[in-house]
Subunit: 981 residues, 2 copies
């Protein structure tokens, strides 16, 4: 009994009240409230209500003289004003469910009540009514200083005159018997004995200003308004306070800035000299009205006590900033996320414990768990499930693609794809003696990509040639050449075997293995691929410098000393007769290539140099990269409207490419350009478009090719599924689910088809797929001013992918346009892709931590829970793994790439021995699909504590709720008498 006094409090009556009223049937949510606060202003001898602030969720204030809305900010109140408001509600008039149809009638009603209750002297009736019915000036209107012409017009209109004009007019019309008794400088007021309906300044109908107000689109459709009117007048000697809830939301003419019907009305008129105080009270009630919990209370309150209980609950939950640590003048920017009202409300509803926790992903959150968990249900079970899941989305996969964002995504990915096709095509051509060249690369990319995007489980994945495949082809070609085996036929059989093996993996739901992948493996893989992208882009650029060497010894003044001449070969050395033929040539007219071709020798000090091209290439390369980065960042600048900025950001790569293609054209140097094949025929003239399966190799080769096929299958499986896992990341909020089995099925099919056509093999490309997703991200159009736009998910559809690959196929005919694009520009795009795909990776963030003193480190959740040195150790292990992979990748062992990734899994497994499960749970987040089954076993530690915490927290919460300010107040009052604790 003693202990209660100091720390504990019993269930308070306020909490009980709320539990009662909020516990009622809750199926109809209350409308959103828009709150407008108007203050009484004196301009010359005109009195009017001027909008001074508004709330949708956050406060927007009308700046003092700036005639502008402030930025939305968190309403910082003083505790004082909240207590004053509480007192006001206790002492003022509270009318709930008033049948109101117009403001004059409502005002009459309130005044009558106050007079009836003896709170107001009847002779103030007219004065108060007059003040309350002055017209309302909203921030949308012109400034308060109007021209004389305006005023002239107004006096004809009837709804706009200032009191003195009205006054004279009323005198003229002999409507009223007026008794002027109290004309001070603050309020040139009057009292009329007659009914003052005609003094109503408020329009009955909505003005065009109201209807045209663009702010309307920030307010939900079903919203209702609450109007707060505060002001000081000189005829009152005590405040006139009223809180009204209308039975039906009613449009009260020009009361509200927007055409939203009013439900609540709070009026505070008080004696002069306390305007600041009234303002604060007005802000307090306005803030309360937009509070989710209090607005619920306001809608459901049965009496004054319910409202007071609502305030008490609010007070109990407010957050307090110490006056010495914060300046109340600072406007606090709305936070990224605020706690949901449901959580606060649930405490008061009776079925509190039965409710599930709201998950971040929402109900649509993708159902990966389900499809991955049910391992080997039956033969091809996963495949059928995938198809069943994807089929209903199929139509929407097309019509959802129609969006401006898709255009930029298609352009971006298309450029990435053809650059990739050309690069890999060139390399494959070198590696296979042109059996597969740039033409095959284009055709294969177009074919595989289109089919995959059309039918796969995850059409956001972009197929491409990858490094390991390239190395495999190279080794295979060398092997067959050295052993006299026909390369194309062998390759066909490997493809067939591999296809069959893929089908087997699909049928046995082997994709289950990806459940063993954690952030560790996934990040290791994607970082490696990103590094390869970056290093390839830079390597290419460096090779440019070697291809176009700079003559660093050039002295401008000695320009006369530089030349390069083609000299005819020495006839004495010529043995072959054909050279005689060339003697007819004018050797000095030959180009470099011709000279070398005909056996001439190049003599001179400029022969091996090419001026300007190397430097120009670097300018284009870094220029494209930096411009893309800057334009991407432009989204977060303050300039221009959001939509324009978003557009610029979406099209940043396109604009950067265009700019630097333009610059290149302008300067006109012969920089290396993108060259696409223009004729539809195999690169090597001696091969056709179809590879025949039999005839060229001995029969045992058909069977033996099973072994290399196995390697290819592992390679493809790992590459494909890890990329798919990365694409399907929880963070991307995909709602159409994924389809690992279906994906693999189609990759297998395409393997076989490409083998028959003699085209390269294709598999998911991590970096380009990430770029694809990034360019299709959707954000909410923020609703309430100040609310942060939320990441909604990705525009999941098949259209962009299909278009990219159709365009790739058509590129053969686009050569005249594409030939203007310099290669360094495309390498700049590559560099950007690599860097951008690194930026989202936690591993990368952790590397940065090495260089930050701990007090500057960002507030990552894992840093709050895991000691820094453990985090560093984990990162170090990852770095070492990556370094080892990087070294291996540069050797012939690259072909074992998939096996190495399995190695990552092993290393990760060993980490279980070094790190506690608690630490791993924080650093090495589990991937989607892993939670459900393994959580309890593997992360039991973390989960248990978490659950305990949660339960305890909830219990605490519900206990904590059962107290309120009034209780303390009683205590305080009681304990004043020095009752010992």
């Amino acid at each position: 009994m003693m202990s209660d006094v100091c720390v504990f409090a019993p269930v308070s009556p306020a909490a009980e009240r709320l539990r009662y009223i909020l516990g009622e049937d809750d199926d109809m949510p209350n409308p959103t409230l828009f709150t407008e606060m108007d203050t009484l202003q004196q301009d010359g001898d005109e009195l009017e209500w001027k909008e001074s602030a508004r709330w949708v969720k956050f406060e927007e204030k009308v700046e003092d003289g700036g005639e502008r809305w402030s930025k939305p900010h968190v309403s910082t109140l003083s505790l004082h004003s909240l207590f004053e408001l509480r007192t006001c509600l206790q002492t003022g008039t509270v009318v709930l469910d008033l049948e109101g149809y117009s403001l004059p009638q409502i005002v009459d009603e309130i005044i009558e009540r106050q007079i009836d209750e003896g709170m107001l002297s009847p002779d103030l009736r007219e004065k108060i009514s007059f003040v309350l019915l002055r017209k309302h000036r909203h921030q949308t209107k012109k400034p308060i200083h109007r021209s004389l012409a305006d005023m002239g017009k107004a006096s004809g209109g009837g709804a706009r005159e200032c009191p003195s004009a009205l006054w004279s007019r009323m005198n003229t019309l002999h409507i009223l018997n007026i008794d002027m008794i109290n004309c001070s400088h603050v309020l040139c007021c009057f009292t009329g004995h007659a009914h003052s309906r005609s003094m109503n300044d408020i329009a009955d109908t909505l003005s065009t200003d109201q209807l045209r107000n663009k702010f309307m689109k920030k307010i939900p459709r079903d919203a209702e308004a609450s109007n707060v009117l505060v002001g000081e007048v000189d005829f009152l000697d005590k405040p006139f306070v009223a809180f009204v809830r209308l039975a039906q939301a009613t449009t009260l003419g020009g009361l509200t800035e927007v055409p939203v019907p009013t439900r609540f009305l709070f009026i505070l008129l008080g004696p002069t000299g306390k305007a600041k105080s009234y303002n604060q009270i007005g802000r307090a009630i306005a803030t309360l009205m937009v509070d989710d919990l209090f607005s619920d209370v306001a809608y459901k309150a049965r009496d004054r006590e319910d409202l007071i209980a609502g305030i008490d609950e609010f007070l109990d939950e407010v957050i307090v900033l110490p006056p010495g640590e914060w300046d109340p003048k600072i406007r606090i920017e709305p936070p990224k996320k605020v706690p949901t009202a449901d959580k606060r409300k649930s405490v008061h509803s009776l079925n509190e414990l039965g409710q599930p926790n709201g998950t971040a992903g929402g109900s649509g959150g993708h159902s990966e768990d389900e499809e991955i968990v049910c391992v080997f249900v039956r033969f091809c079970g996963g495949l059928f499930l995938d198809m069943k899941r994807k089929l209903p989305w199929f139509p929407s996969d097309f019509y959802e693609g129609f969006h401006i964002q898709s255009i930029s995504a298609v352009l971006f990915i298309y450029l990435g794809c053809i650059t990739n096709a050309i690069t890999f095509g060139g390399l494959l051509g070198d590696a296979t003696d042109n059996y597969q060249g740039v033409m095959e690369s284009f055709l294969g990319t177009a074919l595989s990509g289109t089919v995959f995007c059309m039918f796969s489980g995850q059409p956001l994945i972009i197929l491409s040639s990858t490094g390991p495949i390239l190395i495999f082809e190279k080794l295979l070609f060398e092997f067959s050449k050295n052993n006299g085996i026909d390369y194309m036929e062998l390759r066909l059989w490997i493809g067939i075997h591999s296809c069959i093996q893929c089908f087997l993996l699909v049928a046995t739901d082997a994709s289950y293995i990806i459940k063993y992948m954690t952030r560790f493996t996934e990040e290791g893989f994607s970082s490696l691929i990103s590094f390869i992208f970056i290093s390839d882009a830079i390597k290419k650029m460096v090779s440019h410098t070697q291809y176009y060497p700079i003559n660093t010894d050039f002295k401008p003044d000695y320009v006369t000393a530089y030349k390069c001449e083609c000299l005819a070969p020495d006839p004495s050395e010529s043995i072959l007769g054909c050279i005689v033929y060339h003697y007819n040539l004018d050797w000095s007219q030959l180009s470099k290539k011709e000279c070398v071709k005909y056996g001439g020798s190049l003599v001179g000090n400029t022969c091996k140099y090419v001026p300007d091209l190397a430097l120009m290439s670097f300018i284009l390369f870094f220029g494209t990269y930096s411009m893309t980065v800057s334009l991407k960042k432009f989204k977060f600048s303050r300039y221009f409207p959001t939509k324009l900025r978003k557009l610029i950001s979406d099209f940043s790569i396109f604009m950067a490419i265009m700019t630097f293609v333009g610059l290149d054209r302008l300067i006109g140097l012969k920089t290396p350009k993108l060259i696409v094949p223009t004729e539809f025929k195999p690169t090597r003239p001696d091969r056709g478009w179809i590879v025949l399966p039999f005839g060229k190799n001995p029969w045992w080769v058909y069977l033996a090719s099973f072994v290399p096929a196995l390697l290819v299958t592992i390679l493809i499986f790992m590459d494909q599924q890890i990329s798919a896992v990365i694409v399907n990341r929880k963070e991307n909020k995909l709602r159409k689910g994924c389809g690992y089995h279906l994906d693999l099925f189609w990759v297998g099919v395409l393997m076989a088809v490409c083998s028959f056509l003699g085209l390269p093999w294709y598999v998911a490309a991590t970096v380009i797929s990430i770029a694809h997703i990034d360019s299709l991200k959707m954000e909410s159009e923020s609703s309430a001013p100040g609310e942060q736009p939320q990441f909604l998910g990705v525009r999941e559809q098949r259209l962009t992918g299909i278009l990219v690959f159709v365009l790739t196929g058509v590129s053969i005919f686009l050569a005249p346009v594409l030939q203007f694009i310099p290669m360094p520009v495309l390498y700049g795009v590559f560099l950007y892709m690599g860097v951008a795909s690194l930026s989202g990776i936690q591993f990368w963030e952790r590397i940065k931590l090495y260089m930050m003193p701990s007090k500057y480190q960002p507030d990552f959740p894992f840093l709050r829970h895991v000691p820094l040195r453990r985090v560093h150790l984990f990162t170090l292990v990852q770095i070492i793994c990556l370094a080892v992979l990087w070294v291996l990748k540069s050797t012939v062992l690259a072909i074992l790439f998939p096996v190495m990734i399995l190695g990552l899994l092993v290393v990760r497994k060993m980490l279980d021995m070094v790190f506690s499960q608690h630490d791993l749970a924080w650093i090495d987040d589990i991937l989607p699909g892993k939670d459900k089954k393994k959580d309890k076993k593997k992360k039991g530690d973390k989960d248990d504590t978490k659950k305990k915490d949660k339960k305890k927290g909830r219990a605490d919460d519900s206990k904590d709720k059962v107290r309120n300010v009034k209780i303390y107040c009683h205590q305080l009052a009681g304990l004043e008498q020095k009752k010992p604790c």
Copy 2:
């Protein structure tokens, strides 16, 4: 009487109490309080106090599992915990001015009191004492999991054993008769009948950990500690609360993390199950203890009621965030500035109205008003005042220059100066037929700069040649050439006249005129100069492209077709015999220059091209600029410790120059380099170092030169004084004052000296002077964690300036080093200087507003008070003025530059008719020195309202203060009985 109930409250007893105790003699400020909160933790069967948070000004929390300090943040409390704390202080033991010398004694004392008052049962004495004397683990120590070896050691040491170890030891030693009665899993407790002094776990002396704690430097020297101990134990059924103030601050062994003596002690032990609640109460009292006002109350409180009154006052001032708009989990970063405690305290002190308002500049704030306001006191009055003001600072002007920052400043400004000297030297040489060339420019810069920095009133100003002077010299030279007047002698006489005129201006205190300059003029001038810098840098670079044209038609394959040959002139055309001599030449071996010189003709398609140099120059130019910008920004990144970042930022220009000089060397192209004269002799061989005043021109020229001298004087006066005004800006917080008259005096002297020596004339250079100031800015080493470093002022001294100019003079011998610096790198530095000096200008910020939708505009104070379209109009006028000036500047009219600036003053005067004084006061801030005299006349409008506001605000404040939470509570309690309002 009724009105009081709803809104007003009479003077509350709390406020009266505070007024009484805080109004006492206030000459000795209380020490700063460092607060540490320790919570009771159970590890295994060991019980200890673990540090969980600390406060210097803001809260730093020990992260749950991260073993790290959180970032300092504003303590967000719940209102609930504050009320609970209030109750706790009302019911618990409050001991003020206890004579305590050790923790055990203090604990004993408290327990005895509680037992005496019947609040604690005597049999709990030992248990509580045992718990309170457990050892304290601070965050500086190793993690809680210690090795077995550690534990072994500890059991020998006696101060480290866990209870069970202690237990067995005590048993062994037969010291105590122990009765184990209550061994739960939460607290393996025991009760001993004997006196438990030996159970004290707390060391009596300071540990090395404490002494070595680096955190000490964040705490003021005179600080005292307040320790908050909260925990839950299972043997209590009601909380044990104590608040202790010691008579003398005493070091209580290992209680506090740092070796700071403890003054306050708050203890809260409570029954189990409410740990979270106790924690919150602990945080609440800790936050209160670091609150300036409450800590004052705590030091001066006479009894419990005073403390309660302190809490009530605190509550009355807290800032409240609505729960629906803010997530309490967000840690709020400390604000840039918090309201001073003085303002809050002053309300309570009796001499409230007599106190002046604390100004931002502080008492040292410079006394410009004084020296400018007293116009023409007596002959040379201003000059003598300037000298009187500067003389006492003279020694410190040298020793204050010894700082690492000075090195970077010297390097930066030195490079700017020599680039300037070379550029202007070259141009002057062209303009005056080498009468004044690069050599004269170097010498003049060195001489004038050194003398000025040594003796002037504002040694931060850097002298330099400026554009208008250059144009004047050009016109003068042409005039004398055309009229057969000796240029050097004429120039000398103009110099002499101008010098005399300057002395006249000094003697008559004419610098008073700068008082008419507002932000409008000042910004117009400095923007113009910045634009000139930027455009000059870019123009120079463009001219590079013309000087080194790129052969855009170059086809790498046709390298054989490019050459440039020097052909001997056609003998038939040769008329002069000397050409015959040249026939002996090997024409093909001649360089381009030689070829042209000897009359040969250059034939070939590469003759007019220079490869690579243009592009390389651009790479160096943009590279230097971007690297400087990035490194400057690096100061705000999260990487590396602050000091290192500051160093990098300070030396950014030096590092950028070094990097690109290195790159240039690496590539080895013959980019244009900085070439300084190496021999000490006049550029033109036919002139000496002294110009004689008589002999070459007719006598009337000596008198007539008075007229052009007048123009030069106006030019110099305006240029010099506007730059000085910009340097002496209030924002720069200069403390040594300025010396407009003294500056002008020395400029005049130097005019004459330079004229005699035939050197160019020098005047203050705006951009370089701003750069000088920027590179010497000082920031406070932030004291309390989370407090923003404050801009303290500029390292005002003469050393850097003198060094810069001495170095410039010595540059003639530094040629071997300087010749490696490519000119494009220096132009990059110029570009940076121009852009950087724009960035601080409000005009520039206003231009940016044009492109921002109003909701994204930054929260500038003038935007809150002036309608946007007025701001835009003002900016537009400025832009038009600048455009006109820019156009004029590009013509011969440039010589009238000073007159044009007077034109700006006129335009500004006319703006008075367009804009209201209220608007102008906000947009066109008055300059230092203008406020005092003109405020009342000119800005009467603004000032009056402001003053009214202030007075009203103060009255409001003091009235507002006279109420507190308790009053409402009484009201609440009272009004429960439905007494009508």
